[in-house]
Amino acid sequence: MQGNIACAEGALAAGCRFFGGYPITPSTEVAEHMAKMMPKVGGVFIQMEDEIASISSIIGASWTGVKAMTATSGPGFSLMMENIGYAAITETPIVIINVQRGGPSTGQPTMSAQGDMMQCRFGSHGDFSIIALTPSTVQEMYELTVKAFNLAEEFRCPVFLMSDETIGHMRERIEIPDSVDVVNRKELEKGKLPYETDADNPVPGFPTFGHGHRVHVTGLTHDARGYPDTTNHKTHSDLVRRLVGKVESKRHEIADYDIAGTDAEIVFLTYGPATRTVRQIMKDSPDLKIGHINLRIVWPFPENVLKEFPNAKVFIVPEMNMGQIGREVARHTPVKVVYLPKLGGDMHTPQDLMEAYDREKALIGGGN
């Protein structure tokens, strides 16, 4: 099965019943599969006039209580930035698939990249937080899409599956479970205000349209009733801190990663395709002491994972960009961080990583 198809299947399994999208290479197969499947499951597929309309439509759909998603790639992703912020401030659960390709701009439409990792976190104006998942196998395209929907419901924020052309277009066999764990929309309790929260419950219940909540939803700074309150400093400050905090404060619970070789001095931190390459060299050279962190969720960044490697002398971060998540690593550790950018469409080869390993090994000195 192709990665993109696995993603669409995962969405359907998670209960997605509304897809609004716009074609773009290399994510189009997600939409095409949805076009085929939605009528069969009683859901809605609609091809919108552009990506702005796509994300708008899924936010609208989500307010009717339906799980909704869209899929795109770089240029379309850039167009979604304004309404990603809208989903964040209105706390609308939505899932956005970005099958990354080579940027900037139209760049390399058919080639793989991971250049939108910072964008998915910081691409919309103002402060808020989001969750981003990064599959490295076709199986994970399926599983992490399910998980994306669950996290969207749990945290009421935009959740991104940040895949790439390599995994999106890769075909490998996957196991589709008979059933998956699904988190459903948590309806607002009667009598509660739409955005009423407290420190323990920073995520309010959802006042689904048509259920009698008579909610007013706005992208303006709003109070607990959901009413605009745009010049009150405290309302705004509280709201933004909550939007950021509800995700960031839970980052170690949200975290999803594998680690290996925790006693190593040289540690690779990867997400997406490079994870496979690190595993390949670890398999090929079982005697080398290689540490490995594979992040399946990069945002919020679970910086505590770095502490699992007490002997680390260097973190090598191979990315198909100029070094985006590497920046985050550097921010959290005094240990040396080596950025290993790979641009142009290819994933890191075992040679690439072995060379980096050898280089760092030589710098560190000492036996193996």
């Binding site: 058919t110 390599t166 890769m170 075909r171 066999r173 395709p273 390459t277 595993r279 469409g345 080869t349």
Partner: protein, 178 residues
Amino acid sequence: MRHEVLFSGFGGQGIILSAVILGRAAAIYDRKYAVQTQVYGPEARGGASMSAVVIDDEQILYPEVSNPDTYVIMSQPGYDKYGAGARDDAFVIYDKDLVFSKPSCRNLPVPATQTAKELTGRTIVANIIMLGAVVRSSGIVSEEAIRKAVLDSVPKGTEDLNLKALNAGFELGAKDSQ
């Protein structure tokens, strides 16, 4: 054992579909591990197209072909770009109507496009002929598996046409490779 098969040709020749079918044959019908990847230009036709399948008995980690043991080549530029660098013990099978160079390693020229035209009046099934030929001459997947995979993958109504092409490919593959 890890097999790396690389397909290359013009866009529009069905290069990617060939790899998909081979991968499907391996993974679904031969119950091996297989990963299929590709490189293609933005243009639907004209540009160079490359796709690849890695087939293994174990789980496949690094998914790209780094040093293919089998090449299926359907254009001269495709040969120049990929086939020309084949390692000595590789096997190169190519459409002899479209590739004019002569590989130095073990190889098999197949008149796939010509045969397709003769067989069906259209060149569109040349890739299936090549598939038949490579399976027969390399044994990389079983013939039963490839037959099922072809049937799975082609548009409804064209099954017979494609089986005809596959069988023609088997025959062309039977001829001793050089």
